[in-house]
Subunit: 407 residues, 2 copies
C-alpha cells in the first residue's frame, strides 16, 4: 500500500521546528507495510493544504494529513479538506460533549472545534480536544490527525495502525535495533564487519549518539514471517559480536533494564549525585513501577551537602577533593546507609563549561558503585558539552552498575 | 521571492533520518528574505524527482533540490534534472581535475561525477566531490545542492546565499518568540485574539507543548529596520496581554530565568522531589553556573525516605498521605533546613500509569513552596502520560516559584 503524507505547519517550512511527525509517521507506517512515497510540507493556508491533498489523491489515492486541527485561527486543515471533498461541516454534539467533559475551561473552546465533515468517521483523541478523522472519499482515503506529537502517536497506535495494517496486506518493512553503550562507533563497525554477508538481505545502519551506538537491522518488503526470522537471526549474531556492551533492543532504556534486574534479585537502589544533578534519579523514576526498587537519592551539589546529607567526611573531601573516586564511593555508601539500600551509585565530576583544572579537566567524572559484597570505582573523562558530559556520565554509571548486578 | 524545496532521500521518508537539511534551508532562506512555500520530500528515484521539480517550477518558478548528487548508484538527481530540463550531460574536465586533485583514492570515483547539464553554472564544493549547480532554465531557477550537511551549509553560505539575497531584495523574514507556561492554549488564544489587527503585518503562531505555549511573531519580507520595530512592539503587546505567564523569550529556559532571579537576590535553592524523581534537579543543574544558587536536593521516593531524609513526620504522612499539600510543604521545609537554603520546593504526586485512586487520581501533584517570609501550597491534576505529568509538574513548580521570588 502506498500513501502520501501532507504535513501542515508554516513553522516547519521556516525551519523553526524540526519535522518530528513526518519522520515518526514514515517509520511507523513502514512497519505496517505502508510505503510513504512522498511527503509534502505546506503552510497553514487553506489553498496550500487543498492543493497538496488534491495532488496526493490524484497520484496515490491515500493521504494522511497531520496538523492544523486545533482551536486557534491558524488551524484550517478541517475546513480546507471538507471544502475540497465537498463535504459540509456539521456540528457534532457527541464530539462537543466529549470536549466539554474533559477541558478545564470549555468556555474558551470555539464550537467549531466540534464541526465534522459530513460522512467522516471520528477517531477519538484521548489526550487532546481535536479528534482524528477518517474519510473514505470518492478520490481515495483521507486521514486527518492532530499535530501535537503525543496526540498523534496515541491516535496512530490505537486507531489508525490497526486499520492500515489490514489494508496493507502481507508484506512488511520491519526493523529491529540492538542498543550498545560504552564502545566507540569504529570498534562497533570493526566487530560487525565480518557479519555483512551473513546478515543479507537485511541492511545494517549505525546510529551513534551520546548514550551509545544503536544498530538498526532492516528487512525490506518481505513476508512478515521471513522478515521476523531474518531479524531474529541478525539480532542474535550482533549480540554475539558485541557481548556485554549490548544492553537492550528497540526502545529498551538502560535504566529500565537495570531496574528489572534489580527487581528480579530483590535489591534496592539509592543514588548520590553531584555533577549529574538529578539526571540519574530522573532517568530511573521515568520508568513506571520504579518505586518498588528505587528508594531515593540525594543531589549533593554543594560540598557542604556531601557531608551533611550523605556523611562524606570533610577530611576526605579536603584530602582527595570533591571530584575523586574516594568521594564518589563515600557518597554511594552514605546514600546506601541513609536510604537502607543494598545497591548504590555515587557520581561526582566536572561537567563544565568552566571549573576544570590540569589535573581534573572538564569532562572528568568519578564513580563509586556499591553492590552486596563488592565495591568498585572508576574515573572517566567524557567528551562534549556540559549536557553531553552529564548524559554520558549517567549512562556509564548505569551501564557499569548493570554489569555488576547482572553477573 | 518565493521558492520551493525538493529534498531527496528514501531514508527521510522512512523516518530513519530526521530531515535536518529541510529545516536548516528553511531557516537560512527566510533570513535572506526568501519564503519557502512548499517542501517536497521524495525518494531517490528519477521519476519522483522529475515530478516534484516540474510541479514546483510550474507553481513557483524557483526550486532548490538537495541530495542525490553523490557517486553511488542511488544518486540520480543530476541526470533526472538534466533530462527534465532537456539539457544533455557533458563531461567537464575542470570539475574532474578538481575531484582528482582532492580525493585520496580517485580510482573509486566514477567519471560520471564530473558530468554537468549543459549551460549549468558549477558551484565549487570545497568539502566534497559533488559540486552544486545553478541553472537558469526557461521554466525558472533550479539550484542543486549536495545532501551532506557540512557541504550543503558551506555552499549555501558562501555561494548560494549572496546570489539569493541579491534576488530577494532588501527585505528579511524575521521572528521572535514569547514563551508562556501554565495557561491553556485556548486561553492564550482568547487573550491574544483582540491584538490581531494591532500586530499586523506580523503573523502570530501558537506552539503548544507540554511545558507551555510559545508564541512566535514573524515579520515577512519587511525592510530589516521595520521588521525589528514591529517585532519589538509585538513582543511588548503580547507580554502585556499574557502578564506573569510570560517567563521569557526565544531560547530562554524557565529554570535559567529562575536561577538568574535567585542569584540577583542572593537567595539559595534546595529541592525535595518525589514524583519528579530528580527531574527538577536535572533541569536546574543543566544551567551552567547553577552551583552558585542551587545547594542540592533530595529525591525522597520511598515514604520512609521522606521521614529519614527531610524529616517529614510519620504522623503527618499517616494523616494526610504522601501525596498532599502538607507533606509537599514539609518536604520543602526539610530540604531548606538540611541544605541551609532560603528558598525550597517540595513536589509529591501520582505520576502514573498506576497508583491512582478516586480521591488522588493519576496526574495529581502537590507542591510546597518556601521563600523568605512566605509559604504556599497547591494541588494540580496534570493530563498526559507519566513523562508528561512529570515534565508539566516540574515546569509548574518552577513557574510558581519564579512568581513568588519575582514579586
Amino acid at each position: 500500500m502506498d500513501l502520501e503524507l501532507v504535513v501542515v505547519g508554516a513553522e516547519l517550512l521556516l525551519g523553526f521546528t524540526p519535522d518530528r511527525n513526518g519522520a515518526h509517521l514514515g517509520r511507523r507506517l513502514a512497519e505496517l507495510g505502508v510505503t510513504v512515497i512522498r511527503r509534502t510540507t505546506v503552510p497553514d493556508r487553506v489553498e496550500a493544504i487543498q492543493d497538496a491533498v488534491r495532488e496526493a489523491l490524484a497520484r496515490t489515492r491515500a493521504v494522511l494529513v497531520s496538523g492544523g486541527l486545533g482551536p486557534t485561527d491558524d488551524d484550517v486543515t478541517r475546513p480546507a479538506v471538507a471544502a475540497l471533498l465537498g463535504r459540509p461541516l456539521r456540528f457534532d454534539q457527541r464530539v462537543w460533549d466529549d470536549i466539554v467533559a474533559r477541558v478545564p475551561q470549555p468556555a474558551t473552546i470555539p464550537r467549531s472545534q466540534a464541526e465534522i465533515p459530513e460522512g467522516a468517521e471520528v477517531l477519538p483523541n484521548r489526550w487532546g480536544i481535536a479528534p482524528g478523522l477518517w474519510i473514505e472519499a470518492a478520490d481515495g482515503l483521507v486521514i486527518l490527525l492532530p499535530g501535537v506529537p503525543s496526540e498523534l502517536d496515541e491516535l496512530l497506535e490505537h486507531t489508525v495502525a490497526p486499520r492500515l495494517r489490514a489494508r496493507a496486506g502481507p508484506v512488511v518493512i520491519r526493523s529491529r535495533v540492538v542498543r550498545t553503550t560504552s564502545l566507540p562507533e569504529s570498534v562497533v563497525a570493526e566487530r560487525t564487519r565480518p557479519l555483512a554477508s551473513e546478515l543479507a538481505p537485511l541492511t545494517l545502519a549505525f546510529l551513534p549518539g551520546p548514550l551509545g551506538v544503536d544498530l538498526r537491522l532492516t528487512a525490506w518488503r518481505l513476508p512478515e514471517f521471513e522478515a521476523d526470522a531474518a531479524l531474529q537471526h541478525g539480532v542474535e549474531r550482533l549480540r554475539a559480536a558485541l557481548g556485554e556492551h549490548v544492553y537492550g533492543e528497540d526502545e529498551d532504556d538502560l535504566a529500565a533494564v537495570l531496574l528489572s534486574v534489580l527487581r528480579a534479585r530483590g535489591l534496592h537502589l539509592a543514588l548520590a549525585e553531584s555533577c549529574t544533578g538529578g539526571l540519574l534519579g530522573a532517568r530511573v523514576t521515568a520508568i513506571p513501577g520504579s518505586s518498588e526498587v528505587f528508594l531515593g537519592g540525594v543531589v549533593c551539589y554543594a560540598d557542604r551537602s556531601k557531608t551533611a546529607l550523605v556523611g562524606v567526611s570533610s577530611d576526605l573531601l579536603a584530602a582527595r577533593g570533591a571530584v575523586s573516586r574516594e568521594v564518589a564511593l563515600a557518597m554511594a555508601r552514605g546514600a546506601a546507609d541513609r536510604f537502607g539500600a543494598e545497591v548504590a551509585l555515587g557520581v561526582t565530576g566536572v561537567a563544565g563549561p568552566t571549573g576544570g583544572t590540569a589535573e581534573k579537566p572538564v569532562g572528568l567524572v568519578c564513580f563509586g558503585w556499591l553492590v552486596p559484597g563488592r565495591a568498585e570505582t572508576d574515573a572517566v573523562v567524557f567528551p562534549g558539552a556540559r549536557h553531553e558530559v552529564r548524559e554520558r556520565a549517567a549512562q556509564y554509571g548505569l551501564f557499569r552498575l548493570l554489569r555488576l548486578v547482572a553477573v
